[in-house]
Amino acid sequence: MTISGRILVFSLIMALGACAQISKVERKTADVGDAYTVDPQITWSEFPGSATASNGLSWTVDGLFLQRLDLFGGIKDGQALLEPFGAEEETLPTFRADMRESDVQGLVIDSLAQFGYLDIEATNLRPADIGGRRGFRFDLAMATPGDLEMKGLAAGAIVNDELNLVLYVGTRLHYFDARHAAVEALIGSIAFKSGGA
């Protein structure tokens, strides 16, 4: 059965139940698990306990429905990126330590599909320097079930068999572009902690 109502369900849960937990991210550096730090660049709102894996952070400026930045640090073999509301654990796409960048792109697409996005296209997979490590980047385009067009980007690196990933998604009109420059600077600020991921 479809999972595509999860975006709506998730947003309602965030709106109704988790308001008290939302906090501002005003630190000069933020820890992403034990894996790396970033400079947030601007003031974000953090939504703890969102649909990301336990060691992920979910930030937004304009609202999670319109734009979200997910930071994953040290995703281990067998761990899922996103854990959508109501998903059955055995059907969640998971990271494997032997994945290459091509496989990670597939993992992100499958994870977004399970999260409810439709018509997902990943393009421009390319090598990139991420925090001084060999990493990767790619671009995303997709739609919500209500046919709202979204844009996105992913940047990350597999370090010591663990996946570190920045995933940024926003509406194609306005909200992706609104914080894109800050996200690019944030990616440029990634600093892996000593010992790698």
Partner: protein
């Protein structure tokens, strides 16, 4: 209902292919010219077996059904069954019952769930709502009987409906599902349905006629979309069930390079013991047969690399870039080839 139809129409889940929707509508009209003008078809991109016909005439057909059907007769049977509910106003009766219970919101959510929208986005809540909307067994038997008559009258073999149900049953057994499929959640048991369909078909004398299946017409109508639907099928990560679906498709199209590619994809993603060898064999077969997407070379190359066959890996990745000169992952693949060449020469 108008609001719900508006959501169907504008949803990203709607497969925006007028030709395919026109084809399904044509099958509806073949089944009954009298209702042809009243019914509006929406093909929804949902990788599960389901179809519904609503009291206002909107017909929702999920791509998971279209992927599983082998021929037009099978699609026609499902549409004929739904037409039975429509003509007998079963869903209208159920809607009125729900409304009397003051639970219209549940009905709206059910309809939205049919498009993969609304609060019933996940499997569990879909079952809950499907059960809310469940027709009773008498209504189902009545719809089955009407479905047999419609398919027979239009010249199709109604026993193909039973064939489709056998596939769904095999899939559910492979998945060891405690609950039936979405479509099945509101229907009698599968064995009972198969028996009913075959009994009714015999009663109307199908064995003495020469019904057609319109297989070629059907395969031609869905052919352009099958790869996308298979990708969506694999994204469900219900690999045991998808294997049953793929076996059925391969039985009907044994020389399809595209299907052998997806068989390789299933092996690769399911990661069962020995999957690399199985996937490599499937990819090689797909390449030999032709018709597989260019990605078959990339996946083959990456598996060769995993297996330490660096030279073959490099050749396969080169073949990928040659087969897809505009590959959007060209820069990454070129970096892989560079690494492989270094490994080979060292």
């Amino acid at each position: 209902m108008e609001r719900i139809e508006g959501v169907y129409g504008s949803s990203a889940a709607r497969l925006k292919d007028p030709a395919l929707e026109g084809y399904v509508k044509d099958v509806v009209c073949r089944l009954s010219a009298a209702y042809c003008d009243d019914l509006r078809v929406y093909v929804l991109q949902q990788p599960y077996f389901n179809a519904a016909m609503w009291p206002n005439g909107m017909v929702a057909v999920w791509t998971g059904l279209l992927l599983r059907a082998d021929n037009e007769a099978q699609l026609a049977f499902v549409l004929g069954h739904e037409m039975g509910h429509y003509i007998r106003r079963h869903s209208l009766q159920r809607m009125m019952e729900i409304r009397q219970q003051g639970d219209l919101l549940a009905f709206v959510n059910l309809a939205l769930a049919g498009a993969g929208l609304g609060m019933a986005g996940n499997l569990t809540s879909a079952y809950v709502i499907a059960n809310l909307m469940a027709f009773n067994r008498d209504q189902e038997r009545e719809a089955d009987g009407i479905g047999v008559k419609f398919t027979m009258k239009a010249g199709y073999d109604p026993r193909e409906g039973a064939e489709l149900w056998r596939l769904v049953k095999a899939e559910e057994e492979a998945l060891e599902r405690e609950q039936p499929s979405i479509f099945g959640a509101t229907h009698p048991g599968i064995d009972e349905r198969i028996a009913t369909i075959e009994t009714r078909a015999t009663e109307v004398g199908v064995a003495d006629s020469e019904p057609n299946h319109e297989r070629e017409r059907y395969q031609s109508a869905i052919g352009n979309h099958r790869a996308d639907w298979l990708r969506a099928e694999l994204r469900k990560r219900e690999f045991a069930g998808s294997q049953i679906v793929l076996e059925q498709l391969l039985a009907g199209n044994p020389n399809s390079g595209e299907l052998h590619f997806f068989q390789g994809e299933l092996y690769r993603l399911a990661e069962e013991e020995g999957y690399r060898e199985q996937a490599i064999a499937a990819y090689r077969k797909a390449i030999g047969l032709g018709g597989a997407p260019p990605a078959v070379h990339r996946e083959l190359g990456l598996l060769y690399w995993d297996e330490g066959q660096d030279e073959e890996a490099g050749q396969a990745l080169e073949a990928y870039l040659a087969a897809d000169p505009k590959a959007t992952d060209r820069l990454m693949i070129e970096s892989y080839i560079l690494q492989l060449n270094k490994q080979v020469s060292s």
